[in-house]
Each structure stands twice: as C-alpha cells, then as structure tokens.
Symmetry: C2
Subunit: 290 residues, 2 copies
C-alpha cells in the first residue's frame, strides 16, 4: 500500500516562483545579461519572490573547447553575479541561476549561485558532469547542494544532471529544503508519443518522495546545432506539475506555492517520507567500491 496526497494547505498569499525559459546565445555575454534582466523584470512584474534561471545562463552552453570556456568564465564576484545581486535587491527577490565559474583554485566549474536582496548567499559547483562538460575543461564540485534560509523559505539548489541522482536530491531534502531550484539545460531527445519528457518525470518523482517543491528553469533555442527541450516546470510536493509546459518556447512561468506544505512529510496516519527511511540499510553497494 502506498501514499495518500497531502492536505492542500490554504495559501496565505504564498510564495510566487518564476522559472525563466530563455534562449542564451553562446558567447553573447552582454546579450545574455539583457535576456536575463528582461526575464527577471517580467517575473517581478508578475509578483515573483523567487526567480530561477537556466544552467550557464550567462554564457550559453555549447563551448567548443576549454579555451573558449575559460575566456568566458567568471569568478563569483564577477559582473554576472553582481548583476543578479543588483536585480535581487532592486526587486526584493531571490535569484538562482547557473554560470560558468572560474574558481580561485584556477579550475572551471559549471556552477550556480543564489542571490537575495542582501547579496550573494551561496554558490554551488555541479557534482555530476554531463558529456561535453567533461571535455570542455569543467571540474566537478565536491560540495553538497546548498540549502539556504531566505526571506521566502528554505531553498536548495543543484544543476541539471545532478537532479537525476536521487541521493543528491535527497541530501537537499534532508537538509530541509522546502523548494529545490534546478537551473538546467535539457537537450531535446525523441520520446514516445504522448509521453511527458523523462527529465520532468524524474523531477516529479524527486519532489514526491521527499514532499519538496522543485522549480526547474530550462533553456530553449538552438545552439551550435543543439536543440534544447525547453521543459521548465514547477512541481508541487505531491509530485504534480503546477505550471503548463511550454516546450521549446521562450517563457516566464510562475506558480504560487505554500512552501510550508513541504515541512509536513506525512503521507498517511502512520507514514512520513523521511522518518520511514531506513538509512542504516542503505549502505553503499559492494559495487560502489567504497
């Protein structure tokens, strides 16, 4: 036997989350900055409290090589994040987005940052690298997904392929994230007719097994021959989407959420998605080699 849906708590105003499905252009740093500013302003006009931008929103994604990537990467105190800090302060909101980071250790990271009206609150380096990222010179991060107390709730974040590791999503949830933000760049792949993209299905599952909201900002457009899905979505703590799909379109999607629902992990009289875990039995498989 299995779960029952949560009681929908009354929304007393609620937190409005915007996912910005924009189309960055590779290397067009100024243009991408304008695209981001425009999307954040649109989100703010629609009442957004939390705004999520795609992965590598400032630079674009499809680099040709490490040299090109290195030329575009910035430190967390570079112009890209400074602009997000300014936007967060101007509109009194939280921004989570992805950027190409030039680390103080000289390495390059596929990173994300969370800025709020007080400035940069946390950065994160993608721990699970996707395909070309491994050849363009990105190093993988070793730190857990940050979870930050903000004006609008406790917010965690991670980047794209990270979301496909349930262990990683679980870490953020166990650290108390009510809302997990995911800057992503989901490539467009074929799927069976009538099926929702599996990327979204996995996000739905991650939300439901943790009773945690998840907001994913995907990119759209075509970049150096790469088609993008444009699958931005906000999923509720029961695992159901609460925004319409705008596959392939540029769009700012918003949803107003009662994040307090994510603090209630009960799914039946005697079940709780976190308390029911049996972590002492989850020891690494012998195949993990650790």
């Amino acid at each position: 036997m299995s779960r029952q849906p949560s009681h929908q708590a009354a929304r007393k105003g609620g937190v409005t989350v915007a996912v910005c499905q924009i189309a960055p252009r590779i290397g067009d740093i100024e243009g991408n900055r304008l695209r981001i500013r425009t999307a954040v302003e649109t989100a703010a006009q629609r009442g957004a409290h939390v705004v999520v931008l795609p992965e590598l929103a400032g630079t674009g994604y499809v680099f040709t090589d490490a040299q090109e990537l290195r030329a575009m990467a910035q430190p967390p105190d570079g112009d890209t994040i400074k602009e997000w800090e300014a936007l967060a302060a101007r509109h009194n909101l939280v921004i989570v987005g992805g950027f190409a980071e030039r680390g103080d250790d000289g390495h390059l990271y596929n990173s994300a940052a969370l800025a709020d009206p007080t400035g940069l609150r946390a950065t994160y380096r993608k721990a699970h690298l996707w395909n070309g990222e491994k050849t363009w010179g990105f190093s993988s991060g070793d730190g857990p997904p940050p979870v930050v107390d903000t004006l609008y709730g406790r917010i965690g974040f991670m980047v794209c392929y990270d979301l496909e590791f349930p262990e990683w999503v679980r870490l953020a949830a166990l650290d108390g994230a009510e809302l997990l933000c995911g800057p992503v760049n989901w490539p467009l792949y074929p799927r069976p007719k009538g099926e929702r993209p599996a990327e979204i299905v996995r996000v739905q599952a991650g939300a439901s097994v943790n009773r945690m909201f998840i907001a994913v900002a995907d990119r759209t457009g075509v970049e150096r021959g790469q088609d993008w899905l444009g699958g931005s979505v906000v999923v509720d703590a029961d695992g159901y989407p609460v925004t319409p799909l705008k596959l392939g379109e540029e769009a700012v999607l918003t949803a107003t959420l009662d994040l307090s629902e994510a603090r209630n992990k009960a799914i039946s009289e005697l079940n709780d998605v976190h308390a029911d875990r049996r972590p002492t039995l989850y020891g690494h498989s012998s195949r993990d080699g650790s």
Copy 2:
C-alpha cells in the same frame, strides 16, 4: 545537459513479462489461489516467461487485526508458495508475488517470493511498512532486496512502498537487476485531472535513473471499503511505460523486453547512470542520526 535515450537493441525473441492485476478477497485463501492460478495460466498462454503477482496476493490486504493476520499467514514452505512453485515448474516460468509470511522467528512479515522451475529461489520481507501494516502486527524486514539469476535474466524484487525509496531501488540496480519486480497494493487516491498516478511516475523515475526495467503488479477491486488503483505497469529502461493502463480493471498485461538493454548504463558518449554516481559524497545526512 541531460540524458539521451538508449539505443533500442533488437529483440531477439525477448523476455515476456506479465503483470497480473487480480482482485484477491480478504481471507478467501482458496479463492485467491484459484485467481492466481487462472492469472498465471493466462499469462503462460500469452507466452510469459516472468509473471508478477500483487502484494499479499494469497490473503488479501485489509486485515482487521494481528489475530486475523496471524491466522492467515504461512511459512515460505506453506501451501501458497508450494502452489507457485508448481505453477512455475508446470509453465516453465518465474513467478514473483507477495504473501503474508509467518516467520520461523514467530514474527509476521509482508513478504514476497520468487519461484522458478527449480523451486523457491528467494524470499524477501518488506522493509518499509505502510500505515495499517504497522498496527496489524507486521514486522519490517532488515534484508536487502534479493537479486536472482534466473533462466530469463537477473531479477530483483521488493514490495510496494519499498519502491518509493530510491535508495532501495538503487540497491537492487547496483546488484545488477535487469528487471525489478514489484508486487504492490496501491490504494486509490485523488489526483489532478489528466495526470498519471504518482505511484507510476515514481516507478518510471526509478527505472530511468538506473536503466533497469520495472514490472509492477497492482491489485484491483474494493476490499473492506478500500478502493484500489489497479495501476499495474511495465516500464522500460528509459522510464517509459510499455503496457497500457487498465486502471481498476482485472487484467493480465504483457510486454516483451530485451533485458540486455539494462546492462548498458550509458546514456551519452561520456555518461553512465551508475558510473557517474559519486557515492563518497552521498554520506548520510546529519538528520539521519547515523
């Protein structure tokens, strides 16, 4: 960026998996045995090599108390499993199904068994108990999900709510399960219009993040006022259903699978859903208390 779909390997015959959506009646041990036999025979006639039965298929689910449960529970060498062994031998197939186990330790378990033409191969005791199971006197098991080499492939199994713990599904996948069988009893709950039940969404995700087939046999009917979903489904290694939904109906659903696809964990030139894991970073959260 994220995954690409697997290459669909050519099916050289393939393995036909049947999920039996039957309607056991509580306490009707003889009637349930007949229902199971009929379903297995139907599956065999349709060419099934692997047959999955629901959770607690022999007894029904909604017990009133521990006394009633104890009166119906059987040891693994009781009549219920003996019948499954005989059916497996007669039809040369693998049967995975759920039964109420009276353990040699005197405890009661919500268990599952795998029988093949050579007899009983493995039993498993549900590790994550659902709601009333905690009050009817079931104890939780402490062993991992079994993964068994059979005539038709490497098959793992677990029971219902277990499937909602990605750590548990991962264990079976890391132990090399090509097909995970899930005897379940999914209660019927409301869901948003047009949405696939979240139980199925979670199974889809579990399949796709592990590139492992999953076959779930759910029950149907109404039992002591409890409505059941009847959401039996077979999901492929990309996470997409390959059987039609027959919500609420009695049905034997079959799908023919190339289980060798599950041995290929690659999802891009440089990505592998298991090799990309970073288990040293997945240490238990401080909230685990362990």
